[in-house]
Amino acid sequence: MAYILTLFWIIVAVLVSLAAGWCFRAALIQISGPNMAKVYRTAPLTASFGLLVIIIYILCAIFAPLIAPYGEAEILSGGFMPWSQEFWLGTDNLGRDVFSRLIYGARNTVGIAFLTTALAFIFGTIIGIYAALRGGFIDQVLSRLIDVLMAIPSLIFSLLMLTIFGTNVLTLVIVIATIDSTRVFRIARAVALNIVQLDYIEAAKLRGENTLYLIIREILPNAMAPLAAEFGLRFCFVFLMISALSFMGLGLQPPLADWGSMVRDNADLISFGDITPLIPAGAIALLTIAVNFVVDWMLHRASGLKD
């Protein structure tokens, strides 16, 4: 019976999501110019739902202090209050409001993940494209170096680095960005390899353009689609990395709320059938899925398949 009920709620949730996606798409089409409206009209419901979720997250992140009923680290009551009018999702062991922390968590987690991923992409793409453009020896050397970095298990690599340089947000961001940029490098290089052999790059070279111009103006705009898709995925992996690190005691600094540590801190409750840790985990999962829905749509558009 319980299973049937669960199934029922899952179906309801899916339908509600799709309906939300539909409404959001309709709204987007209404408010945007004719060009963009045409694009949005092609969006499947999943993608518009994804977009909606992403926008909600971004809003949460930006306006966290306005939305959250209580402060991030404010201790309000005894530990583990149940869900109530006052505390929507109850309180955590210290008596902090879980709902507020979830919202602040969006800011910290999404913010840091975004920063990290952006950094990784700036490093990774520029070096990757540079390697593809120069080819030959430089390419080999860079690729080997990256290979070396990739051959070290990322968790252990970050463990080493964080132990050496200490755990603070900055090192965390830089270390994860470094690890991630190796993956980005590979993709950027692969994509760029296909572009650098096109005639317009040859034409630009023959014109006497310098390398930076070639990378930024000629190659990068054309490598954007696959890179953007990768951005979505990498972005999600950064959360997971941060939460894995906080599992090992190396995550974000308290009292910053981040979803990874929120899952970690309450994870053992799940073995007693308590769903509290599911909420931040669900927040991560929802964003991942949302981002990937949008990415799928973008890739689909780029692939040229029409069915």
Partner: protein, 580 residues
């Protein structure tokens, strides 16, 4: 002429009766009948018309030629004859009846049964249409096996038989090769053989020779013609080259933007086309420019001296190539694919430093690598590419594309730059206000090529290298480009190095011709001289391979040369005889 609404099997006799009434004596053996076909395609979520109500009728054993410029809907119509629509297209109206069956009513499985077995397809690019992962023979046998027409054993034997007839080398083991292991011409013949594997009643040939060299083209044309006759297969032959269609088809249908322009038996169509559009197509082939007077002993703009070059560690691709390009003159470089034409251009631009030899600019040696050349040196030699699609950065607007060289080399900025861009656009006959802010993807092929030209002249060069600039274009559009180049040459005192494999183009615009083969210059000289015998045998072969507007041309050629002395085979024979 609206078709009967009801086209269920029951009314078959009925339809037939109607047809009999309409058509001539041969009407009994009508194989394919398409009536009032409307096809729409989806682009950016809106449905646009691709075919607007075309009728098509084909008898058993008959070959119908379908011609029209790119995008006219030839392929779409050809595929519709198989009851097939590409992704994103749909047949909105009309009826297709094949051998009495209504293809519009058949379900997926029944259609699938038909395809490959009774109607086969030969695609434009065999190289892309063969699955690179499987051997030719396996791909040959696939259709007979899935349609249960023959056993694998029998199919293999049949393949060898067909390969033999198609004059393919070592027919016994030919099928054991992978697609990338055979030449383009052979691949195209193998594809034709594959289409025949189930002995279909109808074959659709979709531009089977467009991607090939003239020399190779003949080979394939001969094979197709032969086989179609032999098996008495009906065929739709799609092409944009009138001369080619003339060789193959009994009847020709001309399409323009999804509408039928006219249709007539081949002879009639060639002699007396009625529509203007058709006439203009015919006229293109006649365009020729006046030959420029020969120059006296002045220093050439570019002088290629004893250049030997190659890629990486491989053999020399160019061997001791030398020729000059003088001011205001067009030097056409011709030769089959792989003969080293583009490589020569790469040496001149400095992309490929030669192993031996130099390139001189106005008597003064240029650094061999472009990286070592000064901006001024780079500015003087500009290049226009064959594929306008890949030559223009799809993410930059026209304004930026054209402005870049002007800003770089001439230091123009702001208003001056904008004016210059507009001037250039006007020069290439494109209205600035309309085009300046577009992206390349918003232009047609010919327009893109014009932008490429504008970009080259924005640098105010003295010489432009044109690498197959018209090969990817329709004849009408190509003619426009040639005229434009011609005009710019006289206005701006340009020299051209014009690379092409199309002799008709050479005839149209060259002053001098350089014939290349296997990295060697086999013959060079003034155009008028080059088009008059006696020739070097290779030049002769090239010239002789250009199809003419005479439906009998191919037959005559085959008679005179023999089936075994075409294309690759002829070249191989020439090599054996040591003529180079």
């Amino acid at each position: 002429m609206k078709p009967a609404k009801s086209s269920s099997p029951k009314t078959k006799a009925n339809t037939k009766a109607k047809n009999t009434a309409k058509a001539d004596a041969k009407s009994d053996d009508i194989l394919l009948q398409m009536r009032n076909i409307h096809i729409k395609g989806k682009s950016d979520e809106t449905w646009i018309d691709i075919i607007n109500g075309v009728d098509l009728e084909l008898h058993r054993g008959e070959v119908l030629g379908l011609i029209g410029e790119s995008g006219a809907g030839k392929s779409t119509l050809g595929l519709a004859a198989m009851g097939f629509c590409r992704d994103g297209c749909k047949i909105t109206e009309g009826s297709i009846s094949f051998d009495g069956m209504d293809l519009m009513q058949l379900d997926k499985n029944a259609l699938r049964e038909l395809r490959g077995r009774r109607i086969a397809y030969v695609a434009q690019s065999a190289a892309a249409s063969f699955n690179p992962s499987h051997k030719l023979l396996d791909q040959f046998c696939e259709a007979p096996l899935i349609h249960n027409v023959m056993s694998r054993n029998k199919a293999s034997k049949y393949a060898v038989d067909l390969y033999n007839r198609m004059n393919l080398p070592f027919p016994d083991v030919f099928g054991l090769r992978y697609p990338h292991e055979v030449s383009g011409g052979q691949l195209q013949r193998a594809m034709t053989a594959m289409a025949l594997s189930c002995r279909p009643d109808l074959i659709i040939f979709d531009e089977p020779t467009t991607a090939l060299d003239v020399t190779t083209q003949i080979e394939v044309l001969a094979a197709i013609k032969d086989i179609v006759k032999e098996f008495n297969t009906a065929a739709i032959y799609i092409s944009h080259d009138l001369a080619v269609v003339a060789q193959m088809a009994d009847r020709i249908k001309v399409l323009l933007k999804g509408d039928e322009v006219e249709q007539a038996p081949t002879e009639v169509m060639l002699k007396s086309p009625t529509e203007d559009y058709t006439k203009s197509l015919w006229a293109v082939r006649e365009y020729t420019r006046k030959e420029q007077p020969a120059v006296k002993n002045e220093t050439p703009i570019i002088s290629i001296k004893g250049v030997t070059a190659g890629y990486h560690s491989s053999v020399d691709v160019l061997r001791d190539v030398s020729f000059d390009i003088h001011k205001r003159r067009t030097v056409a470089v011709v030769g089959e694919s792989g003969s080293g034409k583009s490589t020569t251009a790469r040496v001149v631009t400095g992309l490929l430093p030669p192993r031996i030899g130099t390139v001189e600019y106005q008597g003064e040696a240029l650094p061999s690598s472009y990286q070592a050349r000064s901006r001024e040196q780079l500015r003087h030699i500009q290049m226009i590419y064959q594929m306008a699609d890949t030559a223009l950065n799809p993410k930059l607007r026209i304004r930026d594309l054209i402005a870049r060289p002007a800003r770089m080399y001439l230091g123009l900025t702001g208003k001056a730059l904008d004016d210059r861009v507009r001037d250039l656009l006007r020069m290439i006959e494109m209205e600035p206000d309309q085009f300046i802010d577009r992206l390349p993807s918003e232009l047609s092929g010919g327009q893109k090529q014009r932008i490429g030209i504008a970009r080259a002249i924005a640098a105010e060069p003295t010489m432009i290298i044109c690498d197959e600039v018209t090969s990817a274009l329709d004849q009408l559009v190509a003619e426009g480009i040639l005229k434009l180049l011609d005009r710019l040459q006289s206005e701006l005192d340009l020299s051209y190095m014009f690379i092409t494999h199309d002799l008709a183009t050479v005839r149209a615009i060259a002053d001098e011709v350089v014939v290349m083969k296997d990295g060697l210059v086999v013959e060079q000289g003034i155009k008028s001289k080059m088009f008059k015998p006696p020739h070097h045998p290779y030049t002769e072969l090239l010239l002789g391979s250009v199809p003419e507007m005479d439906p009998k041309w191919l037959d005559k050629l085959l008679d005179s040369r023999g089936k075994d002395n075409l294309g690759d085979a002829a070249i191989a024979k020439m090599n054996d005889e040591g003529i180079s």
